[in-house]
C-alpha cells in the first residue's frame, strides 16, 4: 500500500486553502486567511511553545507512579555498593588483624574475613541482579507510559494540528525521542545512583579515615561542578538542534519511502540523494558537535581529577611526615581518592544521555502540552434514548458562528435544522464553508459562538465515545490500516462478530469482492493480493459506517472518479448507508445530490439556496446552473 504522506488529505481543509475553482464567482476568489495555530515559524522550526522546566516535570511525572520501585532500586543499589565498598576495609582488616592473629596461630579473624568476603561477593552479585530487574521494570513501565501518552495525545489532537505538525515529526517524537529517554533510563538510573552512592561512600570513608582527606576531596568537587554546569549549558542547545535535525531526516525518509512510485517515475533519486545528504550531513555535524562537547567535558573533568589526586596525596604525605596522619590512612585514602574520580567517565556518559533525553523530552512535552481544540466535557451528558418510531436524530446549528482565532468569519452566524432521518446534500465551491459546517457537526471544531445540538444535547457535553456512537464522519480518503479486511471493517464496531462484519459487507455490496481475495475476510491488506481498488476501499469505508450504526452520518464524498459500474456500486452502498439516518453529505456528484431530500448551496460561508433537488433544478439559482453543467459533462 503506498498511500503517500502528502496524498492524505484531500479536500477536508478546503476552507483554508485558496483555490480558483469557484462555480459562480469569477475566476479568482479572495483567499481565506491561513490560520496560524502557533506562528507558522514555530512549526517550521519544530519548536512548540514549552514552558521552562517542562521536560523535568514530564520526567518526574513519568517516574512518580513508580517511586516505590525507584526507592527499592535505590536501596538495593545502596546495599550492593555497601557490599562492594566493604572490600577494601576487609583487605585492611585482613592485613592489620588477620596477619598478626595468624602469626599467633589464631585463624579466627582470617575465617571471619573469608566469610565476610564470601557474603560480600555473593551479596554484590545478587543485589545487582535484583537491582537490574527492579529498575528494568521501572524503565520499561515509564517508556510504555510515555509511548502511550504520545500515542493517545496525538490521537486526541485536532486535524489542524496534524496538518501543521506533519506526520514525520510526530513519528520522530514517538520513536527517536523516546529512544533518547530509553538510553537515559537504561543506564541512567543505575549510573546516577551508582555515582551518587560511590561518591557518598568514598567521601564518607575518606572522612572516616581522616577528616582532612575528606574535606580536601569535597573541595575538589567544586571545580567539577563548574565544568558540569558549563557542559550542560553548552550541550543543551546542541542536543536540541540535533533532535530537530534527526526529525528532518525522518521526514524526508518517510516522504520518499511513502511516495516511492512518483519518486521513481520522475527520477527524483539523484535530487533526493542530494537533499537527503544535506539533511543527513547537517545531522552528522550536530551529532559530531554533541560528541565534541562530551570530549571537552571528559578532558576537563579528568584533568581536575588528576590534579586533585596528586595534590591530595602530596598533602597527605606531608601530614604523615608531620605525624598528623597514620601511614595506613594515607595508603587507604590514596586508593579511595583515586576511586572517587573513577566514575567520572561514566558520569560523562550519563550526563550525555541526560542532556540528549532532556532535549527530546522538551520536544515531547511541547507536543503533549498542545491542548486538543475540542476538550472532553467536564460534565458529560448521555444522548437521549432514540425514539424507535423515527430514524436518525435531529441536528440543530443554534446561532452558530465560526471564525478562526485570528478573526475572519468562516461561517457567519446562522441557524440550521436538519430533520431526523433526512439526507442533506451540501454543494458549493471550494472554500464555501462546506467542510467547516461538516466538521462542526462532527465536532472536529467547536463553534466560536452558538451551539450544535444533537437531539437537543450540546455536542460539547458528549464524551468522545458517546459522540461517535451518535455521529460518524467518513472522510474522502479511505485509508486502510495494516491488518485484515475484517479488522478494517470492524473499525466501526471493534467488538463486532464475524457474522456482523460479513452482514455489513454484504449489505454494502462488498462481500463478493472480499470473498474473491486470497484469504477472504482474513486477507492482509498490506500483502500482495490484498491490494484493493479505490472503489473497493470506499465500500470498505461504508461497511465501517454500517457496522458503527450511528444516528448521524457525515459523508465527505470522494472526488476521484471510478468507472461507472464501480461508481454505481458506491452509489448503491451510499443509499444503504444513508437510509434511516440523519445524513449530511458534501456532494461532488450529481447522482448524490439527486438522492438527497434537501440541498444546501453554500457560498462564502452562507447558505444561499435551500430546497429539494427538484425545486432547485427548476429554479434559476446557482444550483440549476451547476446542474446543467453537470448533465452536460456526463454525455
Amino acid at each position: 500500500m503506498t498511500t503517500s504522506v502528502t496524498g492524505q488529505d484531500t479536500d477536508h481543509d478546503d476552507e483554508r486553502r485558496p483555490d480558483d475553482a469557484p462555480l459562480a464567482d469569477g475566476p479568482d476568489e479572495p483567499i481565506e486567511p491561513i490560520e496560524p495555530v502557533g506562528s507558522s515559524d514555530d512549526y517550521t522550526d519544530d519548536r512548540l511553545p514549552t514552558p521552562k522546566g517542562a521536560s523535568r516535570r514530564l520526567l518526574l511525572s513519568l517516574l512518580r507512579p513508580h517511586r516505590a520501585r525507584v526507592a527499592l532500586a535505590a536501596v538495593l543499589l545502596l546495599a550492593q555498593q555497601a557490599a562492594v565498598q566493604a572490600v577494601p576495609l576487609l583487605v585492611a582488616y585482613a592485613i592489620d588483624s588477620g596477619v598478626p592473629a595468624l602469626r599467633d596461630d589464631d585463624n579466627g579473624p582470617l575465617i571471619a574475613v573469608a566469610v565476610a568476603y564470601l557474603l560480600c561477593a555473593l551479596g554484590a552479585g545478587v543485589l545487582q541482579s535484583s537491582f537490574i530487574l527492579v529498575s528494568a521494570r521501572v524503565n520499561q513501565s515509564v517508556l510504555l507510559d510515555l509511548r502511550g501518552r504520545i500515542y493517545r495525545h496525538a490521537q486526541a489532537l485536532s486535524l489542524d494540528f496534524h496538518d501543521r505538525y506533519t506526520s514525520g515529526r510526530l513519528i520522530s517524537r514517538s520513536t527517536s525521542d523516546v529512544q533518547s529517554l530509553r538510553e537515559l533510563l537504561n543506564e541512567g538510573l543505575q549510573e546516577m545512583l551508582l555515582i551518587l552512592v560511590s561518591v557518598t561512600y568514598i567521601g564518607g570513608l575518606l572522612f572516616y579515615l581522616d577528616v582532612g582527606l575528606g574535606a580536601a576531596a569535597l573541595v575538589s568537587l567544586v571545580p567539577l561542578a563548574l565544568v558540569v554546569r558549563s557542559y550542560r549549558r553548552r550541550s543543551a542547545e546542541k542536543f536540541n538542534e540535533r533532535s530537530t535535525a534527526i526529525a528532518a531526516v525522518i521526514v524526508k525518509f518517510t516522504e520518499t519511502v511513502n511516495g516511492i512510485r512518483p519518486v521513481k517515475a520522475f527520477r527524483r533519486e539523484k535530487a533526493n540523494d542530494a537533499s537527503f545528504d544535506r539533511l543527513n550531513r547537517h545531522h552528522e555535524r550536530l551529532n559530531g558537535d554533541t560528541i565534541m562537547e562530551m570530549c571537552r567535558f571528559v578532558l576537563f573533568t579528568r584533568l581536575i581529577g588528576a590534579v586533585a589526586v596528586a595534590s591530595i596525596v602530596l598533602w597527605g604525605a606531608q601530614r604523615v611526615r608531620a605525624g598528623d596522619m597514620e601511614l595506613g590512612a594515607l595508603a587507604a585514602g590514596a586508593l579511595y581518592i583515586r576511586r572517587l574520580y573513577d566514575p567520572l567517565d561514566r558520569f560523562a556518559m550519563l550526563l550525555n544521555s541526560y542532556q540528549a533525553a532532556v532535549a527530546s523530552l522538551h520536544k515531547i512535552s511541547g507536543l503533549l502540552g498542545q491542548r486538543p481544540d475540542v476538550p472532553e466535557p467536564r460534565d458529560p451528558a448521555p444522548l437521549p434514548e432514540r425514539p424507535t418510531e423515527r430514524p436518525g436524530r435531529e441536528v440543530v446549528f443554534d446561532d452558530v458562528r465560526f471564525a478562526y482565532r485570528t478573526g475572519g468569519d468562516v461561517l457567519p452566524r446562522f441557524r440550521l435544522t436538519l430533520a431526523a432521518g433526512e439526507t442533506t446534500a451540501l454543494v458549493g465551491a471550494t472554500g464555501a464553508g462546506k467542510s467547516t459546517l461538516a466538521k462542526l457537526l462532527a465536532r472536529f471544531y467547536d463553534p466560536t459562538e452558538g451551539r450544535v445540538l444533537l437531539d437537543d444535547t450540546d455536542l460539547r457535553r458528549l464524551t468522545t465515545t458517546e459522540l461517535r456512537r451518535g455521529v460518524v464522519m467518513v472522510t474522502q480518503e479511505a485509508f486502510l490500516f495494516s491488518g485484515t479486511i475484517a479488522e478494517n471493517i470492524a473499525l466501526g464496531k471493534p467488538d463486532a462478530t464475524r457474522e456482523e462484519i460479513e452482514a455489513a459487507a454484504r449489505a454494502i455490496g462488498a462481500h463478493d469482492f472480499i470473498e474473491e481475495l486470497p484469504d477472504g475476510y482474513d486477507t492482509d491488506v498490506r500483502k500482495r493480493g490484498g491490494r484493493i481498488s479505490a472503489g473497493q476501499r470506499q465500500l470498505v469505508a461504508f461497511a465501517r459506517v454500517l457496522l458503527a450504526n450511528p444516528a448521524v452520518v457525515i459523508l465527505d464524498e470522494a472526488t476521484s472518479s471510478l468507472d461507472i459500474p464501480g461508481e454505481r456500486a458506491v452509489q448503491d452502498a451510499m443509499v444503504t448507508v444513508l437510509r434511516d439516518r440523519t445524513a449530511l453529505v458534501i456532494a461532488h456528484r450529481l447522482s448524490t445530490v439527486e438522492i438527497a431530500d434537501r440541498v444546501l448551496v453554500m457560498e462564502r460561508g452562507r447558505v444561499v439556496e435551500d430546497g429539494t433537488p427538484a425545486d432547485l433544478v427548476a429554479g434559476t439559482g446557482h444550483f440549476s446552473e451547476l446542474h446543467r453543467a453537470w448533465r452536460e459533462s456526463l454525455v
Partner: protein, 624 residues
C-alpha cells in the same frame, strides 16, 4: 492490526546460523575510512588504561618508600609522577574521543545515506512488502546503536580486554600463586558468557523487530488520523499499539532477566576468587613469604580490574545488539537492485535516432505477474499487444481490477514485465536504463503526490531543462496558474509534507503540470482529472488537447468526458485487450464498453435513485 499478522514485517529474516563476529565484520567497509582514527583511539585508550593501572603502583611505591622513610624529595617526585600520569591519562582520554567523534558520526551518516540510496533504487515490489516503520527503525534506531557500539562498545571491548590481560600480567608478576587463583574463574566465565550471548542475541533481535512493528503502528495511526477521528477512535489499532508496546516491554524484561543473570555471574564469580586470593595472601604474609605492601598492591590492582571485568557484561550485550542491528541493516542492503542493461546495449539504443520516424508506443505480448505471486495464479496482464501511434492519444478503459494501473506501471518500468516487449519509438525499454525510460515517459498518477519543495520546483521535476516559459505553459494547461498566483508566495510556496497542504484538485493539477512541463514524447496519465470539478475539468481538457497533439499518450479514463480526449480507446478486460477502436465504434459494438461508459442510471438522469441495496449489486471485481 493484529501484531502477529504484521510482525513478520521483517519479511526476509532468514533462519540463519548467525555469528556476532561475522555480522559485525560486515561493518568494516563503512568503518574503513575511519580505521586509522578508530584504531589509534583504541590504542590510546589502552595506553590510558595502562596509566590507570600504573597509578596504584606509584601510590604503593610512595607509601612503602619515601613516605614511610620520610624522604621529602622522594615524596615530591612521587607526587609529580602521579600528577604527570594523571594528566597524561586525561589528555589521552580526551584525545581518544576527539579522534573518533566526527569520523564515527560520519560512519553513521554514511550508512544512513547508503540505506536511503539503496531504498530509492529498490523495486516498487520491495516497498509494497516492507512497512515504512521497519525501514525507518533501521535508518534511525539501529544506526544510532551502531555508532554507540563503534564509539564505546568496540573501544572498551578492546581496552578492557587489554586492561584485563595487562592487569593479569601485573598480578602474576606481583605474585604468581595469587595471580593463578584469579585466573581460575576465567574459563567458566567465558563459557557462561557464550551461553548468555546466544540467548541474549535472539531476544535482542526480537526487541528490535518489535520496535519496528510498533513504529509501523504509530506511523499508520498518524497517517490514518482522519479515519480514526471520523470514527472516534480506532480501537483495534489502539489495541495493537497496547499489545505491541506491552510485548516490547515483555521482551525488554526478558532481556533484563538475562542481563541480571550474567551480571550475577560476572560480579560474584571473580569476587569469590579474589576473596580466596586474599585469604591465601594473608596467610602468605603471615608466613613471611609476601610483604604486606605487595598484598595491598595486588589487591589494589585486582580492584582496578573489577570495572573492566564487570563491564564485559554490558559490552557483550551491546555487541549482540549491534550485531542484530547490523543484520537488520544489511537485510535491506542485501536486497538486490535489479540489473540495468549493460552499457553496450544502452549505448546502442541511445544512439538510436530520437527523431522521426517514430514508431510510437508498442506493447507486444506483454505478460505481468507479481514476482512473489504463486505460480498457479493467473497473471495480472496476460498477453497485452497494443500500439499507440506516434502523436496519438489512446484512452485505456476497463473495469476495476482489469489491470489498467498495472499496465501503466510497466511503461516507466516501475514494475518489470514478466515477458513480452515494450518499445518506445522502436527501442525496447528493457535495453534502456530505467532512468532513460523514465526520462522519455512523463507520468501523472491517480494519487497526486507533491514533494516537500516549492510549487515551482514540484512542477519542474517533470522536465530537467524546462524554463520559465515552459513552467508557465504547463501551469496554464493544467489550469493551475490561477490558484498558484493566489498562493501566499506564488510559485515559491512550499508544499508537501513540510508545507502548505493543497486540496486534492489542486494537487492533481500540479501533478498534471509536472507531467506536461517537459514536453515529453510519451505521456502516461492515470485518470488525471478525477478530482476536478466539472468546470475546471472542461478547461483543462481544452488546454490538454493542444498538448496531446504532438505527444504519444496513454490515458486511463473513467468518464466519457476524459475519453473524449483520445483518438482511440483500448478496452482492457481481465488482463487482456478486449477491443480497440474509437469511442463511437466501441460504444456501438462492445457491450462491456457500453456498460462501463454509460451506466444507464447515469445517462437517463431522470432516474433519481439508483436501485437500493435490495437490487442486484455489481461488485466491481466481478464486473470485469
Amino acid at each position: 492490526m493484529s501484531p502477529t499478522a504484521s510482525s513478520p514485517a521483517a519479511p526476509t529474516a532468514p533462519r540463519r546460523k548467525r555469528s556476532v563476529v561475522r555480522a559485525l565484520l560486515r561493518l568494516w567497509p563503512y568503518v574503513y575510512p575511519a580505521r586509522v582514527r578508530v584504531f589509534s583511539a583504541a590504542a590510546i585508550a589502552v595506553v590510558a588504561a595502562s596509566m590507570g593501572l600504573a597509578m596504584p603502583l606509584v601510590l604503593k611505591w610512595m607509601v612503602d618508600g619515601p613516605v614511610a622513610d620520610g624522604d621529602t624529595g622522594g615524596v615530591w617526585l612521587g607526587g609529580l609522577v602521579l600528577l604527570f600520569v594523571g594528566l597524561a591519562e586525561a589528555l589521552l582520554f580526551g584525545l581518544r574521543r576527539w579522534l573518533t567523534a566526527r569520523p564515527l558520526a560520519r560512519v553513521e551518516a554514511n550508512m544512513r545515506d547508503s540505506l536511503y540510496r539503496h531504498l530509492q533504487r529498490l523495486p516498487v515490489t520491495f516497498h509494497d512488502r516492507w512497512p515504512t516503520g521497519q525501514l525507518l527503525s533501521r535508518a534511525t534506531g539501529d544506526l544510532q546503536l551502531l555508532r554507540m557500539f563503534l564509539a564505546f562498545g568496540l573501544t572498551f571491548l578492546i581496552v578492557n580486554s587489554a586492561t584485563i590481560l595487562i592487569g593479569f600480567g601485573v598480578l602474576l608478576a606481583q605474585d604468581w600463586t595469587l595471580g593463578l587463583v584469579l585466573v581460575l574463574p576465567v574459563v567458566p566465565l567465558i563459557v557462561l558468557c557464550a551461553l548468555f550471548e546466544q540467548r541474549f542475541s535472539a531476544v535482542a533481535r526480537r526487541a528490535q523487530d518489535q520496535m519496528g512493528d510498533l513504529t509501523t503502528v504509530v506511523e499508520e495511526s498518524i497517517l490514518g488520523i482522519r479515519v480514526i477521528k471520523g470514527f472516534g477512535r480506532h480501537r483495534s489499532q489502539a489495541r495493537a499499539f497496547r499489545l505491541l508496546s506491552g510485548e516490547l516491554r515483555d521482551t525488554e524484561m526478558h532481556k533484563a532477566r538475562l542481563l541480571a543473570g550474567i551480571w550475577l555471574v560476572i560480579l560474584a564469580l571473580p569476587e569469590l576468587f579474589l576473596g580466596a586470593a586474599l585469604v591465601l595472601g594473608v596467610s602468605q604474609v603471615a608466613d613471611g613469604q609476601l610483604t604486606a605492601g605487595t598484598l595491598v598492591a595486588f589487591m589494589a590492582t585486582a580492584m582496578v580490574l573489577r570495572w573492566p571485568v564487570e563491564s564485559m557484561g554490558f559490552l557483550l550485550a551491546l555487541c549482540n545488539e549491534a550485531a542484530t542491528a547490523t543484520d537488520r541493516y544489511f537485510e535491506v542492503l542485501d536486497t538486490d537492485i535489479p540489473d540495468e542493461p549493460s552499457g553496450s546495449a544502452a549505448e546502442a539504443s541511445r544512439a538510436a535516432p530520437e527523431d522521426p520516424p517514430g514508431d510510437g508506443l508498442r506493447l507486444t505480448d506483454v505478460v505481468f505477474r507479481y514476482p512473489d505471486a504463486p505460480p498457479d495464479t493467473p497473471p495480472v496482464l496476460d498477453g497485452i499487444t497494443l500500439h499507440v501511434r506516434p502523436g496519438e492519444t489512446m484512452a485505456l478503459v476497463g473495469a476495476t481490477g482489469s489491470g489498467k494501473t498495472t499496465l501503466l506501471a510497466l511503461l516507466p518500468r516501475l514494475h518489470e514485465a514478466t515477458s513480452g516487449r515494450i518499445t518506445l519509438d522502436g527501442v525496447d525499454t528493457a535495453t534502456l536504463s530505467r532512468a532513460e525510460v523514465r526520462e522519455r515517459i512523463a507520468m501523472a498518477f491517480e494519487e497526486p503526490t507533491l514533494f516537500s519543495a516549492s510549487v515551482g520546483e514540484n512542477v519542474l521535476m517533470g522536465g530537467e531543462d524546462a524554463d520559465e516559459a515552459a513552467l508557465a505553459r504547463a501551469l496554464r494547461v493544467s489550469q493551475a496558474d490561477g490558484f498558484v498566483r493566489a498562493l501566499p508566495e506564488g510559485l515559491e510556496t512550499e508544499v508537501g509534507e513540510q508545507g502548505l497542504s493543497l486540496s486534492g484538485g489542486q494537487r492533481q493539477r500540479l501533478a498534471l503540470a509536472r507531467a506536461v512541463v517537459g514536453r515529453p514524447r510519451f505521456l502516461v496519465l492515470d485518470d488525471p482529472l478525477s478530482a476536478l470539478d466539472v468546470h475546471t475539468e472542461a478547461r483543462v481538457e481544452a488546454a490538454l488537447r493542444e498538448v496531446l497533439v504532438g505527444t504519444t499518450a496513454l490515458v486511463v479514463a473513467h468518464r466519457p468526458s476524459t475519453v473524449q480526449l483520445a483518438d482511440r480507446v483500448a478496452l482492457l478486460s481481465e488482463g487482456r485487450v478486449a477491443a480497440v477502436g474509437t469511442h463511437t465504434e466501441l460504444l456501438r459494438d462492445n457491450a462491456e464498453y457500453r456498460r462501463l461508459m454509460t451506466g444507464e442510471s447515469q445517462l437517463s438522469g431522470g432516474r433519481g435513485r439508483p436501485s437500493p441495496s435490495g437490487g442486484p449489486l455489481t461488485a466491481p471485481s466481478r464486473s470485469a
